[in-house]
Symmetry: C2
Subunit: 111 residues, 2 copies
DNA sequence: ACCGTACTTCCATGACTTTGGAAGTAGTGT
DNA sequence: ACACTACTTCCAAAGTCATGGAAGTACGGT
């Protein structure tokens, strides 16, 4: 019908809710996706699914949650979806959050 | 036996896992507890339960999750439990994380 | 028009989470 | 010893989440 119906839904920057962001980030699969996106400016669903070795339906599910929470941005490009971190928006809304999460080691850092 | 048996269980600083921290913080009740603790150096379970208007069993459950994830420290003092944020440990492990979470407005900040 | 690739949605299943009343444990005052 | 306060644990019900195969949608090439 209108543009919205043909567009992938993303919350507005001001609509990004901290508890929702933390909830989606509190899953090892999704945290890994965010870490991957932090190093790879933009990439496709298949790249992410291959990297994590998960079925496409599972990957699609996690990517939808990340997008709906406002963590990622999805852009259609042919049959592909180009996914990126909404770092600018997240930094505006929760300064320091993304840096503290992607900057942290995977668990056994400085010791 | 030893001190541990008489002590409330907390993970070691190096054992605090980021995904686990984010998962427990991704709940509005627990996020509110953390924000309260960030302003009140140390407080009791009843203070928290009264502040959030939740039953004691529910409060006890959320406080256990926060403690087990390494977000809070619980210290027995008579019949009371004195609860505090493990800000020092969290800052050591994930610099900037606590500041970005408690520093953020409740949702509709700068606009 | 047809096919292949890329991705989404549907759906069932099992696992985990949250809630809160009731019962239990543990210090403290008398 | 007894009662009181502070908190924890048990339990069951209800709700939410993650997984992945199968079916569906959409774009691009031929």
């Amino acid at each position: 019908m209108d543009v919205v119906a043909r567009t992938i839904h993303h919350p507005a920057t001001t609509g990004i809710d901290l508890a929702s962001v933390l909830r989606v980030l509190g899953d090892p699969v999704r945290l890994e996706i965010v870490r991957l996106l932090a190093t790879l400016d933009e990439c496709t669903c298949s790249t992410i699914q291959a990297h994590l070795d998960i079925p496409t339906s599972t990957g699609s599910y996690h990517l939808r949650l990340l997008r709906e929470a406002g963590v990622t941005r999805t852009r259609a490009s042919g049959t592909e979806r180009r996914i990126s971190l909404r770092r600018d928006d997240l930094d505006e809304r929760f300064p320091g959050l993304v840096a503290s999460i992607v900057g942290a080691g995977n668990g056994d850092g400085p010791g």
